[in-house]
């Protein structure tokens, strides 16, 4: 097991190197950072000088190697846009994104799984059809539209919830949390639901599909014959046997919640890494983009490692095959 993890971590270094490489190969296509760094009166010569100073006219391989060299020493450079060290910048934005992702993942799981089970068991029920349909409406509209409709209803018409931002935050060391204040919680509701909607639908449908499959198996029949209560059959036996695909997708979705909370964060002006990233794309803030992508790569490597470990935890049949 330790061996497995160690090998994975080693591989993750390669993953991150590859991510960095691709990232630098594509930064040329994102735009030209210089125009965002200077005012309109700055002369062409000054612009050229700045470009040269930043090494932006070097071939991307040179830029990449330079970045990797510095990153290896823990130096991710200075943001072009904010002129602050990137590591500091990302650290200040990470808590917001992680808290949002955590809550919406929780919502997606806590609603998605029971609804999936319900719709699988009561396949022809009215409520099942309602769940299945409504959840689809949620995913077939773009996130920005859903977000704005939510703001319109809950922020503007009803005025129950703040329409943007994170509310009051409490500092705990370098971490900032919105979990300790009322306005923090209120602010969290809309973005978390918006973000969770898609994942919830996916999880619900997957759980349903897998449950239908598992409920046909002989061991479920035998569990019935043993007189086990339905609850136990559904949750302990059936649900657990559906978990392999569900874990996979949940893991991936959790990763993408963190990685792609971009739109939600933008709509709700949620001060997290996604918003930072979209602004960085806008400003072609190469150091921030590079560091962000590496961080996301790292998250995914970890998440996928956990998913693979969970496979082993959930399914004993997979456990002994690694040799």
């Amino acid at each position: 097991m330790l061996n497995f993890i160690a090998r994975r971590i080693l591989q993750s270094v390669f993953v991150m190197l590859a991510v960095g490489f691709i990232a630098f190969a594509m930064f040329r296509y994102v735009g030209d950072p210089i125009n965002n760094m200077v005012g309109q009166d700055t002369t062409l010569a000054q612009r050229e000088a700045l470009k040269k100073q930043l090494g932006l006219d070097d071939p991307f391989m040179v830029q990449y190697l330079r970045f990797i060299g510095h990153a290896a020493q823990g130096d991710f450079g200075v943001s072009y846009r904010q002129r602050r060290p990137v590591s500091e910048l990302i650290a200040s934005r990470m808590p917001a994104t992680l808290e949002l992702s955590f809550v919406s993942a929780l919502i997606a799981l806590l609603l998605g799984i029971p609804m999936g089970i319900y719709t699988a068991l009561k396949r022809r029920g009215v409520l099942s059809h309602t769940f299945m349909t409504i959840s689809l409406i949620g995913i077939s509209l773009p996130t920005f539209l859903i977000g704005i409709l939510m703001i319109l209803v809950f922020g503007v018409l009803l005025r129950w919830l703040p329409s943007f931002g994170r509310g009051e935050v409490v500092h705990l060391g370098w971490w900032t949390t919105g979990f300790l204040t009322k306005s923090g919680w209120l602010s969290l509701i809309m973005p978390a639901f918006t973000l969770a909607l898609f994942q919830m639908t996916l999880i619900m449908r997957l759980v349903r599909a897998e449950m239908l499959e598992v409920m046909q198996t002989d061991f479920i029949k035998f569990a019935r014959a043993r007189g086990l209560p339905e609850r136990m059959i559904h949750f302990r036996h059936a649900l657990k046997n559906t978990l392999v695909p569900v874990i996979t997708i949940t893991g991936l979705q959790l990763g993408s919640i963190i990685a792609f909370s971009i739109i939600t964060e933008t709509v709700f002006q949620w001060p997290g890494m996604g918003l930072l990233f979209i602004q960085s794309i806008g400003a072609v803030d190469i150091p921030v983009m590079a560091a962000y992508l590496l961080l996301i790569a790292f998250f995914f490597v970890i998440i996928n490692l956990i998913v693979d470990l969970l496979y082993f935890a959930v399914d004993p049949r997979l456990r002994l095959q690694k040799n």
Binding site: M1, L2, N3, Q216, T217, D218, F219, K221, F222, A223, R224, A225, R226, G227, L228, P229, E230, M232, R236, H237, K240, N241, V314, D315, P316, R317, R319, L320, N323
Partner: protein
């Protein structure tokens, strides 16, 4: 008032091609402390009756008539929560397919304990203690360690015993046991039957015992019911039915039971067919049939076809980072034997002794931990390239012990059986393929209708026959049969064993035959190996073994073989005069 009453039961499986009547007007009753045997043709509807009593019929199965009552109370209409209290607690059932009855993701312990906690007012510790006790009573060694394991770590027979333990753990009043001992070796079988009998006599439990094994019927049942194509054809006290059957079907059934005491040239076939249908069985002439064509491997020298040398297989039971914490299990240790071309080699032995593991090693499904398998002078264990392996695989086929999981649930039977033919392009046209498949299915006793159905629509025995048909469809040179007939009624069993015999005799098919059924082994095999705890204890000619077993364990095994001398011998084709009394 009987303990359990089944009255005029009628069950149908509806489909859009018409309804199939699985049970037609069957009436049975069971008294306290009584063991009622149910025998009959495979697919006759025995399991269906059990399922109906438990209200676990799979859709589209439906009870269309009749009543089931427990101690005079109708139970076929109970609301779900009352039903739940009934199941497992008052009536429990042992399913025919022990290999898939267990949740693959839960340890044996958690499945046992949860059942007890639901029905009995026990603490977790008490339940655990009882679980250990139960496993011990069904003859599983090292119960404490085994409790922590998962179903896939158990051999077929061990899983069957776990299922039995699960069914008995709440001391039910009625037990429906569907083929509870098919996967068990004789000594364990004796132990289990003893357990069941004690349960019935001491605790006044009523039991319906569904089985194909006439030895078992003879040994423990009080009464026997004979089922044929969904109908009850005869019922009566065991001695009467076995010794002096009335109905022509029962008669031919009994004549087909393999005898341990005499060796037959061919098995007698059930000749009784009530209303002849289109799918009536026709005999195959192997010499002219496709099955017998192009089978010359160009070699008839004296070197054995298969040589197994010092074969070993070790499973990891508990993995750990530190070597000293790991627990390994030697499922097979240093097994060596040879099989000549055209020989039938039998493998018998304790359940969990490693027979299936050897079979899988030979078939190349497991990688051996040590030793080698040499097939046709090629060391297969050392083969790496695909081409070589494939050439070898075409010649070897295997019938798996578990007929439930060895069929792809999403393929029709036609496609399953035709697959090897199509894959190796053994037939010249699609039409011929279909004809061949139809012949094969016909011969294993499944009609044309089976072609377009899916595996789950078949009874256990029917699935096993599909597996056999598929294995034969490659026209193999070497066939591994892992309990090929355990779920078959004697009539079908006879037919299939005859087919195998024919293939062996006429085409030099080589067979590795694993079975618990000593009479069958005796009838089928030229030489036999005896296994226990992963070791091959003794290899001998069949007759020598049965007459003069060398090893203590072999002697013990043979002593437990049931004798069926009270059954009539009329119409048997003896190979040579009876040697044993």
């Amino acid at each position: 008032m009987a303990l359990l009453d089944i009255e005029k039961l009628h069950i149908e499986f509806a489909s859009r091609h018409g309804a199939l009547t699985a049970i037609d007007n069957v009436t049975l009753s069971l008294e306290k402390g009584e063991i009622l045997g149910v025998v009959g043709e495979s697919g006759a509807g025995k399991s269906t009756i059990g399922n109906a009593v438990m209200r676990l019929l799979e859709p589209p199965g439906k009870m269309t008539g009749g009543a089931v009552s427990l101690q005079g109370r109708r139970i076929d209409q109970l609301p779900p929560h009352q039903l739940r209290e009934l199941r497992g607690r008052r009536i429990s059932m042992i399913f025919q397919d022990p290999l898939t009855s267990l949740d693959p993701l839960q340890t044996i312990e958690s499945q046992l304990v949860e059942t007890m906690l639901v029905h009995l007012s026990l603490t977790r510790q008490q339940a655990h203690a009882r679980a250990v006790e139960l496993l011990e009573s069904v003859g599983i060694p090292e119960p404490r360690l085994r409790l922590q394991q998962y179903p896939h770590q158990f051999s077929g027979g061990m899983r069957q015993r776990v299922v039995i333990a699960l069914a008995l753990c709440c001391e039910p009043e009625v037990v429906i046991a569907d083929e509870p001992t098919t996967a068990l070796d004789v000594s364990i079988q004796a132990q289990i039957l003893d357990l069941l009998r004690k349960l019935c006599k001491e605790k006044q439990v009523g039991m319906i015992l569904i089985t194909h094994d006439m030895g078992v019927i003879a040994e423990i049942t009080d009464r026997v019911a004979v089922l044929y194509r969904g109908k009850l054809v005869e019922e009566g006290p065991t001695g009467k039915i076995l010794g002096n059957p009335d109905h022509p079907y029962t008669k031919s059934l009994i004549s087909a039971v393999p005898r341990p005491d005499v060796k037959l040239r061919r098995f007698p076939m059930v000749t009784y067919i009530e209303n002849v249908q289109t799918d009536s069985r026709k005999d195959l002439d192997i010499r002219t049939h496709w099955l017998g064509q192009a089978r010359d491997y160009g070699r008839h020298d004296d070197t054995p076809l298969l040589r197994v040398e010092n074969l070993g297989m070790r499973f990891v039971l508990k993995d750990a980072f530190l070597k000293k914490n790991r627990r390994m299990l030697d499922a097979v240790k240093g097994a060596s034997f040879t099989i000549r071309e055209g020989e039938v080699f039998g493998l018998v032995g304790e359940s969990g002794s490693g027979k299936s593991t050897i079979a899988r090693l030979i078939a190349g499904l497991y990688k051996a931990s040590s030793g080698s398998v040499i097939f046709d002078n090629v060391n297969v264990t050392a083969l790496r390239n695909e081409a070589g392996l494939n050439a070898f695989r075409r010649q070897i086929q295997m019938v798996f012990q578990d007929p439930y999981s060895s069929l792809n649930p999403r393929m029709r039977i036609l496609d399953i059986v035709a697959e090897p033919i199509r894959f190796h392009k053994l037939a010249s046209s699609e039409a011929q393929t279909r004809a061949i498949v139809a012949d094969l299915l016909d011969y294993v006793g499944l009609g044309q209708r089976a072609l377009r159905r899916y595996p789950h629509e078949f009874s256990g025995g029917q699935r096993q026959r599909i597996c056999i048909a598929r294995a034969l469809a490659t026209r193999p040179r070497f066939l591994i049969c892992d309990e090929p007939t355990s779920a078959l009624d004697v009539s079908i069993q006879a037919q299939i064993l005859n087919l195998l015999k024919d293939l062996q005799e006429k085409l030099h098919l080589t067979i590795l035959f694993i079975s618990h059924d000593l009479p069958v082994i005796r009838q089928m095999c030229d030489r036999v190996g005896v296994m226990r705890h992963g070791e091959l204890l003794e290899v001998a000619d069949t007759e020598t073994l049965f007459a003069h077993p060398q090893h203590e364990y072999s002697k013990h095994l043979l002593s437990l073989m049931p004798t069926l001398h009270f059954m009539s011998r009329e119409g048997l084709e003896l190979e040579k005069p009876a040697t044993l009394a």
